[in-house]
């Protein structure tokens, strides 16, 4: 999904010129010494590449690994704190679309000499690309390559195991019957496991499933990522006749649970997400 792919393992030559996923040309003059991440997934990647010391700021949602929680919070759901970011004096801000930066802020920060790179992801492959890109930007090409190949092999193992299983149909509720449709990261996770996301054919992005479609398709597995408490039964009686629920293939995780953040975070822990989904879909 981005243009930095060749020469994965070599050292990065600065100035580095890239076009990010939103089409912005960014030229990075030197190896960034001070990095701000506004996205929990990016933060996880940065830590996984061993950039603990370079990170000078994170967002309030960055809660993994634990070290992230002790970094200054410069970004929150209502946006970035410009003044604090400028004081933190970063060389680069890395982010993804779910935690985008308002246009004005972007202009101002760029004027103050801060580079901004935004990433998108709609598949597992995109996430691996993002890791490679971040590795390239931060001159951690080797670490990134190692991480990616480790992940590829883990993914391959789970996919192989899944291939031997009877294909299952899956529904994932992220709240209010909204569900990841085609072209989403979670949909790709399910696809990787050889399972069938029943919302896949309905549309792309986050969409709301018609209740009757849910009943009609009667998925084998129902995963709810919007429970008030993990383990809750569904609040709506109307879906309690689904076979997933009758067959104990209903899994609910609260918003704040580790499971929810693992499944919905396009970072290095996606292999854990695959394992978790595998367990839920096919059993341990």
């Amino acid at each position: 999904s981005n243009t930095a792919s060749s020469n994965a393992a070599a050292n990065t030559a600065y100035p580095l010129s890239i076009t990010d996923d939103l089409g912005n040309n960014v030229s990075i003059d030197a190896k960034p010494a001070r990095i701000v991440s506004t996205s929990p997934a990016v933060t996880e990647i940065l830590f996984a590449l061993g950039l603990d010391d370079e990170i000078v700021g994170v967002s309030s949602s960055c809660d993994y690994p634990d070290a992230a929680k002790s970094k200054p919070v410069l970004f929150d759901y209502s946006g970035p704190n410009v003044e604090s970011i400028i004081q933190a004096d970063p060389d680069i801000i890395l982010s993804d679309v779910a935690y985008g930066i308002p246009a004005d802020t972007q202009l101002l920060l760029e004027k103050s000499g801060i580079k901004i790179v935004l990433m998108t992801y709609t598949s597992v492959e995109d996430v691996l690309d993002n890791i490679t890109l971040i590795g390239k930007i931060t001159d951690k090409n080797k670490e990134a390559a190692a991480l990616v190949s480790q992940m590829r092999s883990d993914i391959g193992k789970i996919a192989d195991k899944a291939e031997k299983q009877e294909p299952k149909s899956v529904f994932i509720n992220i709240g209010g019957y909204y569900t990841p449709g085609a072209d989403t990261f979670i949909n790709d996770l399910i696809k990787t496991l050889g399972a069938n996301n029943i919302a896949q054919g309905l549309g792309s992005g986050w969409i709301m499933i018609p209740t009757e479609k849910l009943i009609e398709d009667d998925p084998d597995v129902y995963i709810d990522l919007s429970a008030v408490n993990s383990g809750d039964l569904p609040a709506d009686k109307i879906i309690s006749n689904l076979s997933a629920i009758k067959n104990n293939k209903y899994y609910s995780y609260s918003y704040s649970s580790n499971e929810t953040s693992v499944i919905s975070r396009p970072g290095p822990r996606l292999t854990q997400a695959l394992q978790l989904l595998y367990d839920d879909i096919y059993g341990k």
Binding site: S60, S61, D76, Y77, S78, I174, G175, G176, Y177, Y178, G181, A199, G201, L202, G203, I207, M208, I209, P210, T211, E212, K213, I215, E216, D218, S226, V228, N229, D232, L233, A235, D236, K237, I238, I239, N241, S254, Y255, S256, T260
Partner: protein, 336 residues
């Protein structure tokens, strides 16, 4: 208000309810719908034998009916509020019902309350209480102030509503994990609603409708202004309080079940008033029909036009607004 008109509107409503029950994304033949509906009438099936029956009888039919009743309730509330405040911008949520309900729902989510309490959905319950308490706070402030004008009451309602909305934002800020859930709740939707929801809202509707019809003359008189109303024997403060309390409870009841559904409560009374004029008996009866038909149609479009569901509020505004503007454009009678 001729009997024949009421008969016609009732007939249209029933026909539409049946037709709309036949619409949906699931792959069920048009005629099958009616076979299933007729089958239910003939035999007393205790369970449902297959997913088609479940979809028709347990999902679509109650949802169609619920959207009808909810539309009727909201339109009725709109009539009440607009007359009490003599302000064309008043809608059922103007005294803070919607923000109060959202606060209740937010609290239930943020405090991780259990799903049900005495068999009742806790979020709906909390939403209801949130709405009711808010309206009572608004009233208490108003009645303890030295003010008589309904404008002051409106403004207190708006201020409290905005305050609560801000409080919700703070709660969301402090509980960022739950943001999505709260957001989805406020959106308003009939998805996954079934007979129990319908039962609850129907009870609210029947009580609310009877009360409002019983007060139709009071509402007429109220439009004359407080001095005239008093000359004609109305205890305006009492009547105003009663009507606002009942409409607020009705709005709270609907909101707690369906979430916040705007536009319909504001626009329906204006649309109907163009045809009926200001006398409330006519106005309210037709508002109930039009509000019900309108919201039911919007929800049917929302759930069956595309493969995925659209938020019903979007459909209401996309179709309702141009229709309303056309009416304003083509008719001469002033609105309120």
């Amino acid at each position: 208000m001729k009997k024949i008109h009421i008969f016609i509107f009732t007939a249209i409503s029933i026909i539409l309810i049946l037709l709309y029950t036949a619409a949906g994304t699931a792959d069920i033949a048009f005629l099958d719908t009616f076979k299933i509906l007729a089958g239910k009438l003939n035999s007393s099936l205790s369970g449902f034998s297959n997913s088609k029956e479940i979809i028709i009888l347990n999902i679509r039919l109650p949802r169609v009916l619920l959207s009808y009743i909810s539309g009727a309730c909201l339109a009725l509330c709109g009539c009440g509020y607009q007359s009490v405040f003599k302000n064309p911008l008043s809608d059922p949520f103007i005294l803070g019902v919607s923000s109060g309900a959202a606060l209740g729902a937010t609290l239930s989510i943020v405090l991780s309350m259990p799903n049900t309490f005495l068999g009742l959905n806790i979020t709906a319950l909390m939403a209801f209480f949130g709405a009711v308490i808010t309206v009572f706070v608004v009233f208490a402030i108003y009645e303890n102030s030295q003010r008589n004008s309904t404008s002051s009451l409106l403004l207190i309602g708006i201020a409290i509503g905005q305050f609560i909305t801000a409080v919700i934002s703070v709660l969301m800020l402090l509980n960022q994990d739950n943001i999505k859930d709260i957001y989805f709740w406020t959106l308003g939707s009939f998805a996954a609603k079934s007979w129990p929801h319908l039962a609850v809202v129907s009870v609210y509707f029947v009580i609310g409708f009877c009360f409002m019809m019983h007060n139709s003359k009071n509402l007429d008189i109220m439009l004359l202004g407080s001095q005239e109303a008093q000359y004609l024997g109305q205890d305006i403060y009492k009547v105003r309080r009663h009507i606002l309390v009942i409409t607020s409870l009705l709005a709270a009841g609907v909101v707690s079940v369906t979430g916040i559904i705007g536009f319909i409560g504001l626009i329906t009374p204006h649309v109907v008033r163009i045809f009926t004029g200001p006398m409330h008996k006519k106005l309210m009866v037709y508002s109930v029909f039009i509000g019900g038909i309108f919201l039911m149609t919007a929800d049917t479009i929302a759930r069956s036009a595309l493969k995925f569901e659209l938020p019903v509020g979007i459909v209401t505004a996309i179709f309702g607004a141009p229709f309303f503007i056309y009416l304003i454009y083509s008719s001469k009678r002033e609105v309120l």
